[in-house]
């Protein structure tokens, strides 16, 4: 408010509006005069005369005020019409549009559908997950009596952490997870997988040398566990381990004194080849669940074990009856069963490769690992 603004007089004058005395002296102004006066387009002398009339003539003043208001509104309209249409449009934020009545209904419907789909997907996932969990594995319980045997020749998993474990000390083998599998220890990966815990103290350095290159090698290679050697053939076993060439099937120790105490969780899926239990001391049970499933034909797998095939520009190694993509890393595997809808939805190229390889195939496709069985 301006300095010196007189609120009292202002209020009194506003109240006096209703009590205005209507006067109309002389001749009224015509439209041309009024419009010219409103636009301040009259000569000064005429203007003075008209001002005196307008100051006292209520009718003409009202007429003038009305014309001024109309002109003012027309100016505003002209100004607004000069603004481009795109700018003139008031943009409503998208989140506000959601709450406009018809959109709100559609939004709620869409949300219901979305959540239904999500829960349905979860349920399907759980169902397929339970199917895929038909995995057999056994845990080798720590057994003081078998310490020496286990230390002699316990096949270690290829994973780096297990190698590290096995290299650190021979006693770690007591907690090794063993899994029954076909006794087709992949010879091709055997050197890399030699986390043989039967490393003697004096051989530690050599073992370390062997293990070092595979520390970060992610290739999962479940191995059959040859029977742990007895104290007598420790040296042989170690020797075998160190000189074990690629593609050479692990042979059971001549002593054949397998004294592993295994507890297969799922006897139905647990299988043996040639009457031997294979052990797999791979990473964790969780990983085992996804990597291990019942093979279709153990005999066939035996025949293909250690084989390498190139399909669709990819190299596959058969390890324990499972075809592993050589490019496979530590990706989390997603399991698909052949013939299922989910499987059919997979990329055609991926399915083509899987179809060319019988049995379980683990493929790295577009950066994701797929386990097709």
């Amino acid at each position: 408010m301006e300095i010196g603004f007189d609120k009292e007089i202002d209020a009194i004058l506003r109240k006096a509006r209703g009590a205005e005395v209507v006067t109309s002296p002389g001749t009224h102004l015509d439209a041309d005069e009024i419009s010219a006066f409103a636009e301040n387009a009259l000569p000064d002398a005429v203007r003075q005369n008209y001002t005196a009339h307008l100051a006292d003539c209520t009718r003409c003043r009202k007429f003038l005020s009305n014309v001024i208001l109309l002109n003012s509104e027309a100016e505003i309209e002209t100004a607004s019409s000069a603004v481009p249409a795109e700018i003139k449009e008031v943009k409503t934020p998208w989140y506000r549009k959601l709450f406009v009545f018809p959109q709100l209904a559609y939004t709620m419907g869409a949300l219901v559908l979305l959540f239904s789909g999500f829960f349905g997907y979860l349920i399907l996932q759980n169902l397929s997950g339970s199917k895929n969990s038909d995995v057999s594995y056994s845990i080798e319980k720590p057994n003081q009596a078998d310490k020496s045997a286990a230390a002699a020749n316990t096949s270690a998993p290829v994973f780096s952490n297990s190698n590290t474990m096995s290299n650190s000390t021979t006693t770690t083998t007591n907690s090794t997870v063993t899994t029954t599998s076909a006794n087709t220890n992949s010879a091709s990966t055997a050197p890399a997988n030699t986390a043989n815990t039967a490393v003697l103290t004096e051989k530690k350095s050599e073992t370390a040398e062997l293990n070092t290159p595979i520390v970060n090698q992610p290739m999962p290679a479940p191995q059959s566990t040859p029977p742990p050697p007895t104290d007598d053939n420790k040296g042989d076993a170690d020797k075998d381990f160190r000189v074990q060439p690629k593609n050479e099937v692990n042979k059971p120790n001549a002593a054949g004194a397998v004294r592993e105490e295994t507890k297969p969780r799922d006897k139905e899926n647990a299988y043996t080849v040639d009457g031997q239990e294979s052990t797999d001391s791979s990473l964790s049970r969780q990983k085992m669940k996804t990597e291990r499933s019942a093979p279709e034909s153990p005999k066939k797998q035996v025949s293909e074990a250690g084989a390498t095939r190139k399909v669709g520009g990819k190299t596959f190694n058969n390890v324990g009856g499972i075809w592993f993509d050589s490019a496979l890393g530590k990706q989390k595997q997603k399991t698909f069963n052949r013939g299922t809808k989910d499987y059919l939805r997979l990329d055609a190229g991926l399915r083509s490769i899987a179809d060319q390889l019988s049995g379980t195939v683990v493929i790295l496709w577009n950066g994701k690992a797929y386990r097709i069985q």
Partner: protein, 321 residues
């Protein structure tokens, strides 16, 4: 007046030639077509109060006329069909917009606009058999758009004066009844004052009458400019910007003028009440203060109620949306 025009004939002819050349589209008009209208405008606005206007003043006057608008109107009067179509095309929106603002009901707006065009075209014939058109009153001093708005406003006032007055009285009475009812229900004596004491009522009325007289006298003593400014601001509720444009100054100047006028009125009212009605200085100040505070309270309450209701309405509207 005719003598004055004759005296400045060469100047006027020269100015008319320049006016036609100034027009973007002279529409084939010759000086002879324009001359009668210029003479009429000179007589009305220049020579009426100053018969001794100089040639320079005449030149300036004609120079200030709106050449395009005037040529368009003159061409229409002459019966130029293309000029008519141009006039309708460029100004029909103006006429309709003004009609919508002036007509009391929406359905009357189109009728009003049609009436305007009929008046512009001409419904009656003069002695010479020519159509008497409203266009003949356009001088070219103001814009054609402003003139058309004034025509619409004038015609609307003429057509709907009685109806508008009835509506206004009805609305005022309704509002008064509503306010009284509301005040009684809410027992809110502050909004509308109620006095049980007859003496108090009489005294207050007497005081109010004295102040009203003093106020009217004070306003009458103002200059014509100030009076018009004050009335347009307080009575017609025009904005200072609009008033300033009309007078040809900035709204800040208009604001300063309002403050000065308030001061003048206060002084005049105090003087009139003290000298004419024997009020003491304290009485005058106390009465003005009390009156203003009562009005202020009432106004503030009414404004607050309006604002709250508007806010509630907006909230409800937005929540529904």
């Amino acid at each position: 007046m005719t003598a004055a025009i004759e005296k400045h004939n060469p100047t006027i002819e020269e100015s008319i030639a320049r006016l036609i050349s100034r027009a973007e589209n002279p529409r084939g008009l010759a000086a002879i077509d324009v001359r009668p209208r210029i003479d009429k405008a000179l007589a009305k606005y220049l020579f009426r109060d100053n018969e001794n206007a100089s040639a320079a003043e005449i030149k300036a006057f004609i120079e200030e006329l709106r050449a395009d608008d005037l040529c368009l109107v003159l061409a229409c009067e002459k019966g130029d069909e293309s000029a008519w179509s141009d006039l309708v095309r460029t100004h029909d929106k103006t006429v309709k917009a003004a009609a919508w603002k002036c007509a009391p009901k929406a359905e009357d707006a189109d009728d009003l606009a049609s009436s305007i065009w009929a008046e512009l075209y001409g419904l009656k014939h003069d002695a010479d058999g020519k159509l008497k058109s409203k266009l003949s009153y356009y001088s070219g001093r103001g814009s054609l758009g402003g003139w058309l708005r004034a025509i619409v406003s004038q015609l609307a006032v003429d057509q709907y004066r009685l109806q508008a007055r009835l509506v206004q009285v009805e609305e005022s009475r309704d509002f008064e009844n509503l306010a009284n009812e509301s005040s009684e229900k809410a027992e809110n004596s502050a909004v509308i004052a109620h006095h049980d004491n007859a003496e108090e009522i009489f005294e207050e009325k007497q005081l109010a009458r004295d102040v009203s007289k003093a106020l009217n006298q004070a306003i009458a003593e103002l200059s014509a400019d100030d009076r018009l400014l004050l009335k347009m601001y307080y009575y017609d509720e025009l904005k200072l910007k609009e008033i300033g444009q009309m007078f040809g100054y900035h709204e800040a100047t208009a604001s300063r003028k309002i403050v000065r006028i308030q001061t003048d009125i206060r002084k005049a009212v105090e003087k009139i009440l003290q000298n004419g009605h024997n009020w003491s200085e304290d009485e005058v100040k106390r009465y003005l203060s009390e009156t203003a505070s009562k009005l202020g309270i009432n106004l503030e309450k009414l404004v607050a109620i309006l604002i709250i209701s508007a806010v509630v309405q907006e909230v409800l509207r937005s929540s529904v949306l």
